[in-house]
């Protein structure tokens, strides 16, 4: 019986791995998407808008099933067409990280876009006046200041992302939800194991909240808040 609890704890490590991987993917996609939407170039803006609209219109589970089952077949076709050989396999971990990252990239795009718009334009203009190019301005001036405005939305997205990782169990990744389900069916004690998994999630979200709260305090140094 304790063997099951240990394996669920191992699965928890996998959950953390999937969520951190997906976070990295979503942050990269979010920055790219926000930059695209704010660039003003018609093609980029349309592309980014289609991306965010589609993602917010389709359930995560359906997207994950599409990427996992359909994606492998599609990728294999592509590989065969291009003359490569051998089964290309998208295994559950990669499918999960890519799908969740892709989905939350859309939400991060909106968060980062709002945050970048909140940074006073004068900051960027001063950077240009100094002769900084657009990329350098973006990474040395805009992004550090944007972090403060982005943190509330980012925290929200991160918390929702953690919970979305439970869905990866439905495509066969042996994360803690999958292992809890297996253990509960094998021992006929679902309440015990699901409660355990739920508690682990609670710990994870609480720790995240605490870390992000500290981060937000750190990035708000030098600003003032007034009580209404």
């Amino acid at each position: 019986m304790t063997g099951y609890f240990y394996s669920i704890l191992n699965g928890a490590l996998l959950t953390v791995g999937v969520s951190l991987g997906a976070l990295a993917v979503s942050v990269v996609l979010g920055l790219l998407g926000a930059a695209a939407k704010l660039s003003g170039r018609r093609g980029l803006v349309t592309l980014a808008t289609v991306y965010t609209t589609l993602i917010r219109g389709i359930p995560e589970l359906v997207l994950m099933l599409l990427v996992f089952y359909g994606g492998t077949i599609g990728l294999n076709h592509l590989v065969q067409v291009m003359g490569g050989k051998g089964p290309v396999d998208i295994e559950p971990f990669t499918a999960g990280v890519l799908t969740i990252g892709f989905i939350y990239g859309a939400y991060m795009t909106e968060t980062f876009r709002g945050a970048i718009l909140s940074v006073p334009k004068g900051q960027m203009e001063a950077a240009w006046a100094f002769g900084m190019g657009p990329v350098r301005t973006f990474f040395r001036i805009t992004v550090p200041q944007m972090v403060r405005y982005a943190l509330p939305g980012f925290t929200n997205n991160w918390l929702v992302l953690i919970k979305a990782t439970a869905l990866v169990s439905l495509i066969g990744l042996k994360d803690m939800t999958f292992l809890a389900k297996q253990a509960s069916a094998a021992t006929r004690e679902p309440f015990t194991f699901f409660l355990f998994a739920a508690a682990l999630f609670l710990v994870y979200t609480s720790v995240s909240l605490w870390v992000l709260r500290r981060l937000s305090e750190r990035y708000s140094l030098g600003t003032q808040r007034r009580e209404v």
Binding site: L14, G17, L20, Y69, I73, D89, G172, A185, R188
Partner: protein, 274 residues
């Protein structure tokens, strides 16, 4: 300074997790094509580990059971290393066609319908199915089960039978993702019974505490129309060399006693069937 510490902590954390998940994360690159080690090439075997005593897991998560042991014996014969991939039952064949694994060794019956999509080896066992409900249920014929809730495994031959014969007479057939979830709901009272492989339901349910008071009713179910001609190893069409190897391996383990010793671990009767 603090920022550096934060970044290093996060990176260290990610690295730790990365090392922890190394066993799970293989790169999404062409896999089994070229054997890396001079040792045996891999054979990816799909199993649905919710089917005691044929395919299930020990508490530490190791696959075990009759199917798994037969798979190990076959792999030893054809000199390949068995690597197990867990898969939900109703996506077994789609996963095989999508090349997620090479064979399915998980109590998959050889039926006409499945032969249209995949190829099978010779059978390696054959057991009939039965209907299981509370032992004191009055049973005359299939229609006397009218109104009862019967759980079946989605995508199984038993589901085909239940949908074909039982649903027509008014039984409420509920498909489940895994057979052990059926037992969970029988135990809790949501289901009145199931249609399942007779050996599997004995080992996975009737012999356990929650199976007390339940028993077989009705005839022995083994019409080839629904249940096929036995259980075999499934593989993609066109893999004739692999099929030949596996068939030879099955003959070999049956004649050299390996099959019998594996079978004795789990059953005290002849599971190979007629």
């Amino acid at each position: 300074m603090q920022k550096l510490l934060w970044t290093m902590t996060l990176v260290a954390g990610a690295a730790l997790v990365g090392c922890g998940k190394k066993e799970e994360a293989a790169p999404a690159a062409p896999a089994a094509a070229a054997p890396a080690e001079a040792a045996m090439p891999e054979l990816k075997v799909a199993i649905d580990a919710s089917y005691e005593p044929f395919t299930y897991k020990t508490p530490d998560g190791k696959p075990t059971g009759f199917d798994v042991d037969i798979a190990e014996a076959l792999c030893a014969e054809i000199k390949r290393k068995c690597v197990y991939v867990e898969q939900v039952w109703d996506s077994m064949i789609p996963g095989l066609l999508a090349q997620k694994y090479d064979v399915i060794i998980s109590s998959m019956s050889i039926t006409e319908e499945r032969l249209q999509q995949v190829d099978f080896s010779d059978k390696y066992y054959n057991t009939p199915s039965r209907i299981v409900v509370k032992a004191d249920t009055a049973f005359t014929d299939l229609a006397s089960l009218k109104g009862k809730n019967i759980g079946v495994l989605k995508g199984s031959t038993q589901e085909k039978f239940a949908m074909g014969e039982l649903k027509a007479v008014g039984v409420n057939v509920v498909p489940y993702e895994a057979q052990d979830q059926v037992y969970l709901d029988i135990k809790s009272g949501r289901l009145d019974g199931t249609v399942a492989d007779s050996v599997e339901v004995t080992g996975g349910f009737l012999k356990k505490p929650e199976g007390q008071g339940y028993g077989f009713v009705g005839p022995v179910l083994n019409e080839p129309k629904y249940f096929g001609v036995g259980v075999g190893v499934a593989m993609r069409k066109g893999e004739d060399q692999l099929k030949q190897q596996i068939n030879d391996a099955i003959k070999a383990i049956r004649s050299n006693g390996t099959y019998d010793s594996v079978s004795k671990k789990y059953f005290d009767f002849d599971v190979y069937g007629g």
